[in-house]
Amino acid sequence: MERIPILKMGEYLLVTIQVDMHDRLAMSLQDDLTSRIVSARAKGVLIDISALEMVDSFIGRMFGDIAAMSRVLDAETVVVGMRPAVAITLVELGLSLPGVRTALNIERGMELLRGLIGARGLDDAGSA
């Protein structure tokens, strides 16, 4: 069965979705990602969906779920590279994904993640 690769880069995980998502693939991605966040003790997850051309409400909700799950596991999620057509579809489906952070491309997304985790590191240090 095909799987979506999850790459580890330091304390970040990089997920690049390059095939059309179907429901089973989405579910296995959720499983893999959550266990990988725990095993790699990742602080940030970057999901690149620039190759994704189609979404339905299930996949849309999955992004929100993944972000929420990562947050519970103490990792920040940034979704990058969403295509205009996909963004319009999601909005028309009523899924504006309020809990998901977004960026235009990988570079910006990485910047955003570093900023988020840097700020959090300071907060942790302050409270400790």
Partner: protein, 305 residues
């Protein structure tokens, strides 16, 4: 058309105008193409009388080419009629019925005046003449409609929404005119595509030119903002007039976390600040004090946000 044929047509138009007019208008009113909602018997009567008068003049001149100067009056009158009907929403055949329904009463008269034998050929010629006039109305009708379409296209072009680059990484979308769903779609697609192309991080949607903001318009704006955010660009809504601010609150429209500013300038200032840019005066001497003022204002804005 043979000279004697035109002469007999002339005879009938001179002598029988009253009954001809009556029969013609009856025909128009009874035709399937009659539109009681768009025109009245009285109006038809006026048009028909004017037409018969003008046609009599033209026929009296003995000219049979309807594009010749003798027919200029008739053509002018048909121009007015056809363009008016195009704008009222008549169909071409409804418009052409004006001419074609004259055939029956006129042929009737011709037949009676000429007798059966030689009547047929002359009838045919008159028939051709009337058909040509009818076709002419159709042609002008189409032209009138084309003008309407061209004007509407121009209006649409004027309403189309350009996405302008204010600064490297800052886009502005000045909206002018009412925002309906079809237009929102176009606006959204334009904006998102430009965000991808330019890699802009901030988009300012200026609604100074939007006449009213109701719940639907607000919904459309929020959709655009949400879609831009999904792509990773922040939106600022600017150009909110006092009345619109009141309407938004009275309607209970929830703008949520969207940043709103009264003017495009304010929105631009915020955008520059987010990019870490500062606007400074070029001159040196009085600059320090101005800078302090700007800093104080900036601090105030920060506190407010």
């Amino acid at each position: 058309m043979a000279p004697d044929s035109i002469a007999s047509l002339n005879d009938i138009l001179q002598k029988d105008e009253g009954t001809l007019l009556q029969g013609w208008v009856d025909n128009q009113v009874n035709a399937t193409a009659f539109r009681p909602d768009r025109t009245s018997r009285q109006e038809l009567m006026d048009y028909s009388r004017r037409f018969l008068t003008l046609m009599r003049e033209a026929v009296k001149a003995g000219e049979q080419d309807i594009m010749s100067p003798a027919w200029a009056g008739v053509r002018q009158m048909l121009d007015d009629l056809s363009v008016a009907r195009a704008q009222q929403g008549f169909s071409p055949s409804e418009t052409a019925t004006f001419i074609f329904s004259l055939k029956e009463p006129l042929f009737d008269r011709l037949q009676r005046a000429l007798g059966q034998s030689e009547g047929v050929s002359r009838l045919w010629l008159t028939n051709l003449l009337l058909d040509r006039l009818g076709l002419y109305t159709t042609e002008v009708f189409q032209r009138g409609r084309e003008q309407l379409i061209i004007r509407q296209q121009q209006e649409l072009m004027e309403l189309s929404t350009p996405v302008v680059t204010l600064w490297d990484g800052v886009l502005a979308l000045p909206l002018i005119g009412t925002l309906d769903s079809a237009r929102t779609q176009v606006v959204m697609e334009n904006l998102l595509q430009r965000i991808v192309d330019s890699g802009a991080a901030i988009a300012i949607i200026d609604i100074t030119g939007v006449p009213t903001v109701d719940t639907v318009t607000a919904q459309h704006l929020l959709k655009t903002v949400a879609a831009a955010r999904l792509m990773g660009a922040d939106c600022i809504i600017s150009g909110i007039r006092p009345q619109i601010a009141q309407t938004i609150v009275h309607l209970g429209v929830e703008l949520g976390t969207v940043v709103t500013k009264a003017t495009l300038a304010d929105a631009f200032a915020i955008a520059l600040k987010r990019l870490g840019l500062v606007v400074q005066k070029a001159s040196t001497a009085p600059r320090r004090r101005d800078d302090d003022g700007a800093d104080a204002r900036a601090a105030g804005e920060r506190g407010e946000g």
